[in-house]
């Protein structure tokens, strides 16, 4: 049975983690997202919010309104039966320019992987990625899995400033930096679109469980889309996927 492999980990008296495994794995992610959807739908008393990550779900609760034992009992009930990524998912087409100074590490990635830069771009933009989770920064999506040929460790010299919109890769993941921040991933391109806006609710374009494809654009298209984004007239292409 699936349920027997689930671990409950205490995080003080305000959160508990429901852990499905110890590795990054699409099957584990689907079960995490499935439980997340069920907990959101169940409206359990005292639950404040739930946060899906690669292989576990953190459930934040108010210990004045509920307690861990009651919550674990309720979650065990929700775990019964097949868990799939229950929420409706969207497929996003994210435009990326892989040219020149908008792709500061592209040549380095090509050298380290033994590929041409065109091949790196082709591989990066040919995969449909799964948004495992959002974390590290507001709106920072961890997406995978990268084509195995592109897997590299993080940079040994992290940058103190990564510009917003930087499309990056490290290990089996790709991500987009939503805001300027320090960062150790390899920057292979830049998207002109905004992934995070605190004035919107939800504030992040992508949600855990969504799918993303990168579409190669040239500099002219980058400038055009960037201008449209600033005017608020650009809509990122997306469509609903069957659950």
């Amino acid at each position: 049975m699936q349920e027997t492999s689930v671990k409950f980990l205490p995080c003080g008296d305000t959160a508990l983690v429901v852990e499905f495994g110890d590795r990054i794995d699409r099957g584990l992610s689907d079960r995490v997202l499935g439980l997340d959807a069920r907990i959101r739908a169940a409206g359990l008393p005292g639950v404040i919010e739930s946060v899906p990550t690669f292989r576990s779900l953190m459930v934040h609760y108010d210990p004045v309104r509920t307690h861990a034992q009651a919550l674990m009992t309720a979650i065990r009930t929700l775990l019964s039966g097949e868990l799939d990524a229950g929420r409706s998912r969207r497929l996003w087409r994210v435009p990326v320019c892989y040219d020149g100074d908008l792709a500061p590490d592209l040549a380095d990635v090509a050298e380290r992987t033994g590929l041409t830069t065109d091949r790196v771009v082709a591989l990066h933009s040919a995969t449909r990625y799964h948004v495992y989770m959002i974390g590290f920064l507001p709106g920072f999506p961890y997406m995978g899995d990268l084509a195995p040929e592109l897997e590299l460790p993080r940079r040994s010299d992290p940058r103190t400033r990564v510009p917003p919109g930087s499309v990056s890769i490290a290990t089996t993941m790709t991500a987009v930096y939503p805001v300027e921040s320090p960062g150790g991933w390899h920057l292979v391109g830049t998207t002109p679109i905004k992934l995070f806006d605190p004035a919107l609710s939800p504030p992040a374009l992508l949600a855990p469980g969504d799918a993303v494809e990168f579409e190669r654009i040239d500099r002219a298209a980058f400038a055009r889309i960037q201008a449209d984004c600033e005017r608020g007239t650009y809509r990122v292409q997306h469509r609903d996927l069957a659950a």
Partner: protein
């Protein structure tokens, strides 16, 4: 005419905070909010507010502010912080109480004492636009509170009310948990099994020093090296406020209000919610000792802390001046300067 508190001097890190921004951690948005939610709640109650209203969180060194409203009722809570009204000589109104101030009066919040933070609430609250349901400032993200940043000299922090209500002031006896020597209780885990038994014993027996690397994100602690069993990185998972994460250096970091929502370092233990206000008050140079409790005990301690806070709030009463003088009537007649009062 719009009402505001004009910032004459900003202090070191003065931000608008409420109880936090909940519901968006799945999008990577930290909860933020007051480091010491109990003192925030007391300051709000003293000012006559609901506990959810935004107040000003003051770290290390308080601001100097000028009243640009017909009148405003202010209240200060936490530590030994006092409100001092400028004048010749300046008049200290004490702390843990409300006070009525009038247009043009300049006051500062000072003498924070043992607590790194204190809260300045105003009756009716501050008129800042909520972001994602909260007025809390998240400085790293540049949003919430007053323009997404700490206050600076020259700012005018808008007030929701132009006038203070007609009522007597409120004060209370400072709660005694402001003392800094209490054991901080933790629940071991979520990654206790990523640490050696010696590391767990060291956590629960050694004294840790709050290093100067301390801010609203967390406190870097100096103490014995906490050894990992196996690797020191894990597949990133969620982080609860109060988590004690241990990177490869073996030096613990106690995560506070502005912590990241997820992270890849193992967490040896998590401070219980009843004790989070206590760690929120700690500052560089303070010492911390930890003791372990079970989750059910932590939940019970939280309910007791809630009941104790309710009792503290229920004990609010008009401040009694020494020698039968009434502070507020003195205030009305501008005789306040130079008169010394008890805090109650």
């Amino acid at each position: 005419m719009s009402a505001a508190l004009a910032v004459v001097a900003a202090g070191l890190h003065t931000t608008v905070q409420d109880r936090g921004r909940f519901g968006y951690q799945a999008f990577g948005v930290p909860v933020s909010g007051a480091l010491d939610v109990e003192s925030l709640e007391i300051a709000n109650r003293l000012a006559g507010n609901d506990p959810d209203l935004p107040a000003v969180e003051i770290l290390h060194l308080g601001p100097t502010l000028r009243v640009e409203a017909d009148s405003v009722r202010v209240a200060v809570a936490a530590g030994s912080a006092e409100i001092e009204v400028q004048g010749e000589p300046p008049a200290s109104l004490g702390g843990w109480r409300s006070a009525l101030l009038r247009r043009g009066q300049v006051f500062r919040v000072h003498r924070l004492g043992a607590s790194v933070c204190c809260y300045l609430a105003v009756e009716g609250g501050f008129a800042v636009e909520p972001v994602l349901g909260s007025a809390s400032t998240y400085v790293r993200g540049g949003f919430g509170g007053f323009r997404g940043r700490a206050l600076a000299a020259g700012d005018a922090l808008p007030l929701a009310q132009t006038n203070a209500a007609e009522r007597s002031e409120l004060a209370l006896i400072p709660p005694n948990e402001t003392r800094g020597d209490r054991l901080i209780r933790v629940v071991l885990g979520p990654q206790r099994d990523h640490f050696t038994e010696a590391a767990v014993q060291a956590l629960l027996s050694a004294e840790f020093l709050v290093s100067k690397d301390a801010d609203r994100m967390g406190l870097r602690l100096e103490g014995p090296r906490l050894g990992h069993r196996g690797g020191w990185d894990i597949v990133s998972d969620g982080i609860a406020t109060g988590a004690i994460q241990v990177p490869g250096s073996g030096q613990a970091i106690l995560l506070l209000a502005d912590h990241q929502t997820t992270g890849g370092y193992p967490k040896i233990a998590t401070v219980i919610s009843a004790d989070l206000p206590l760690v929120g008050r700690r500052k560089p140079g303070d010492r911390i000792r930890f003791a372990a409790v079970e989750v059910a005990e932590a939940e019970k301690l939280r309910r007791e802390a809630r009941a104790a806070l309710d009792a503290t709030i229920a004990s609010m009463a008009p401040p009694r001046p020494r020698g039968g003088l009434d502070l507020d009537s003195l205030h009305e007649t501008n005789l306040i300067s130079g008169v010394v009062f008890d805090q109650l």
